[in-house]
């Protein structure tokens, strides 16, 4: 395992009970402190792969190594942000955000303090005692992000976190997320099927082939976010070229 990689996938294969072969021979090393995106056509096994990394489902073959050790399930080194938010409807925002710490037995006062801090950071101050159904989709996903941040995992796994959020909210949220993650040296593995989103956010794009998914290409967008406003980046030649390049690559599977 090279020194600067934190998650290593070794020959990952997954065949579901139904006989569907979702993944085949996936090999990859995710660099530490970077935002890597899993991008690929619908049904190619992105969610499956992310859940295997999260330890939520077992691979049929191969191994996942995290921080130099093979995993056998979920662990405190990884935190998940779910596509459907996965917030408990009976619990307040504060309790939802603190839930990861609650499960770990962190004393109540301490965990609520930590939760308040992150609620503030994701921009939801004042909503602590609201319930999830009183929040918009974008705000709910901020709750999901705050919950993942409270447990202070090295690795954050996100499955299409912006998919049920409208376009304007998504852009704002993307910026905020980049800000939040920038200083923390978090390793983020991010699933999306939106090419622009991948090109805009990622340090690294892992293109997956159609089912059974495997790594078909790795792209480094190398977009400089510092000192530029988002709209400027979105008109950047480099950015547009990358999108074009990915699009041509993915078209192979669509036709």
């Amino acid at each position: 395992m090279s020194a600067d990689s934190i998650v290593k996938l070794k020959d990952i294969g997954k065949i579901y009970d139904t006989g569907v072969e979702a993944l085949k021979d996936v090999n990859f090393e995710f660099p530490v402190g970077k935002l890597s995106t899993l991008l690929g056509p619908s049904g190619c096994g992105k969610t499956t792969l992310l859940k295997i990394i999260g330890g939520l489902i077992d691979a049929t073959s191969g191994e996942v190594w995290v921080n130099g050790k093979p995993i056998s399930g979920p662990g405190p080194d990884r935190a998940f942000v779910f596509q459907d938010f996965a917030l408990m409807p009976w619990a307040t925002i504060l309790r939802n955000v603190a839930f990861g710490l609650e499960l770990r037995g962190v004393p109540k006062d301490e965990r609520l303090d930590i939760a308040r801090k992150y609620i503030k950071e994701v921009g939801l101050e004042g909503f602590e005692s609201n319930y999830p159904h009183q929040l918009s989709g974008g705000m709910r996903q901020r709750v999901g992000l705050a919950r993942a941040l409270t447990v202070d995992a090295d690795i954050i796994l996100m499955d299409e976190p912006f998919s049920s959020v409208d376009e304007q909210t998504r852009r704002k949220f993307q910026e905020d997320m980049l800000d939040l993650l920038q200083n923390r040296r978090k390793t983020v593995i991010f699933v999306t099927h939106r090419i622009e989103e991948a090109a805009y956010l990622s340090d690294l794009i892992v293109l997956l082939s159609a089912r059974p998914g495997s790594v078909s290409q790795v792209i480094k967008p190398d977009i400089d976010h510092s000192g530029k406003c988002p709209d400027e980046i979105r008109r950047d030649k480099n950015y547009l070229d990358i999108i074009d390049n990915i699009w041509r690559e993915l078209k192979v599977y669509l036709c």
């Binding site: 330890g55 979920p74 935190a79 998940f80 499960l103 447990v151």
Partner: protein
């Protein structure tokens, strides 16, 4: 003997009611009824929620018990009371068992439904943050199934009230059953009806209290 003697005017029922309610016999009967009801219901809750959860989570348990629970939930449990009397004797134990049997099956069934349709992604979320089985159960599954479980409890309570009355009627030597027997034998219709009103009011009150809890849960389960 006219209708008016079987259905005395409400005013005379209410007049008698006050003396009935304060009579020693009545208080004693209520005491026994409440005690047996509470005991039977507690057992029904523990067993009902426990078995319901097991059936939802463990396939073999579901396969073994599923059919039986479905038969018993609609079976006339009263027919079993004579058998219970044979086993448990003529006394409080039989009434407790009757309450239990009246209430337990609907609680099992509703708990099972609630837990098996509990949000899978919440369970997955729990696992991802390191929840153990016990935490998944107490912090996610039970709460997620609470609307269904409460509905089951409300139906169970109503059946349990039926159970305590029918059990005591069939035994007819303890509790309100003894009173009903006494009043109807001596044709004390005012007393008889005031007892009926008390029992009805009790059942209604309990079921309303639970319905209130249900509404609160629905409120914040909101967009489930």
């Amino acid at each position: 003997m006219g209708v008016s003697s079987i259905f005395p005017p409400i005013s005379s029922i209410l007049m008698v009611a006050s003396t009935v309610l304060s009579s020693e016999k009545f208080i004693k009967a209520i005491e026994i009824s409440l005690r047996t009801f509470a005991l039977g219901m507690t057992l029904a809750l523990l067993v009902g929620i426990g078995l319901g959860a097991l059936m939802a989570r463990v396939k073999t348990v579901r396969e073994i018990l599923g059919t039986w629970v479905n038969i018993f939930v609609s079976a006339p449990i009263s027919a079993l009371v004579p058998i219970l009397m044979g086993i448990l004797g003529i006394g409080e134990a039989t009434v407790v068992a009757t309450v239990f049997l009246f209430a337990v099956f609907v609680i099992i069934l509703d708990t099972q439904v609630g837990i098996s349709k509990a949000d899978r992604s919440l369970v997955e979320m729990g696992h991802s943050f390191g929840a153990n089985r016990y935490q998944i159960f107490t912090k996610i599954l039970i709460l997620s199934a609470l609307p269904e479980i409460l509905a089951g409890i409300r139906l169970g309570v109503i059946r349990g009230v039926k159970g305590v009355v029918i059990g005591q009627l069939l035994i007819s030597i303890i509790g309100v059953g003894e009173l009903f027997e006494l009043y109807s034998k001596h044709f004390l219709m005012e007393e008889f009806w005031s007892l009926v009103i008390v029992v009805f009011a009790f059942a209604l009150l309990l079921s309303e209290a639970i319905a209130y809890c249900e509404r609160r849960v629905e409120y914040y389960a909101g967009s489930r």
